[in-house]
Amino acid sequence: MSPRLRVALLALSGLALLPGAAAVIAGLPPFGATIAQYGERINAIAPDARHVANMVSAINFDLRGLDTLGEEFMLLAAITGTVVLLRGHRGEGNSGRAMRRAGRALIPRSEAVVLACRIAGPLTAVFGLYVVVHATVTPGGGFQGGVILASATLLIYLGEGYAGWRDAVRSHWLDALEGGGALLFALCGLGPMLMGAAFMQNVLPLGTFRDLFSGGLMLIENLGVALAVTGGFTQLFLEFMEETRATDEPEEPGEESA
């Protein structure tokens, strides 16, 4: 397919989509003026029906939980694809020790960086856990908290260096975290069916409004998402770094000029 044909195709599809896009944009409510009807309805229903203070979580994990389940497996598929792509010929085997590309300078870390990371790392992890478990009360949730947890593991890398990071973070554990989180979410959908309820129906006791234990099944689904996102993102970081460092053999001279 030549570039010219590609541009022609792009222009054609753009022209075909333009009327629809224009109609949707014209139909949007004015900027910042009103709360949409759907939002009003959710605000009215969710605190009574689900005992949940964070409406975004109520939508993501309960009212439209099926969509989030789909997103969850999209994330799983994306990370699996990336890992397969990055591992390449290295296969599943991981080197026990951290490897360093020949000829790259070893930059020493200043003690201030190490100290800052040792203090900030655990604090970041605690904050991530806080965001995860308070999903039904305050803004945040499994995804946001999971990413914060994953960046807490990255602070270990920043402070302790690659070798220390590899010692602390095991690839197989990350696989288990990610798959297990997705499985937990799926089981949250299938579990209620065993009790004769609908898929992902909120069968657990709903708890008290504005309490940590509110929302019933949402809390467990959140935990599943957090596990999957933490494992997935850390796995992603690990595979990227592994790819940069794993080449033990001398490189071809042709690659040096890049």
């Binding site: 945040g140 949730g141 995804f143 990413v147 994953a150 960046s151 993102f233």
Partner: protein
Amino acid sequence: MTVILPLLFLLAAGSGTAVVLIRDPARQIFAIAVNGLVLAILFDALQAPDVALSELAVGSAAVPLLFLVALMAVRNQPPEEKS
């Protein structure tokens, strides 16, 4: 509030343009991080704290870090040997 929103829009547009105009990849990564930070503040100002938290974690921490690592992988030679 009336001042904050236009200011944030301007900042978002400015930092977004900077990402495109900066040619050095290493600086570009930091420009992306700054743009993510500005967007996170903007989302928060528009009362979308959930989205702001996601943007903060992904847009200004995870993505720039991945880019940095990828850049480290591409750059084989020590910096002083570059032109």
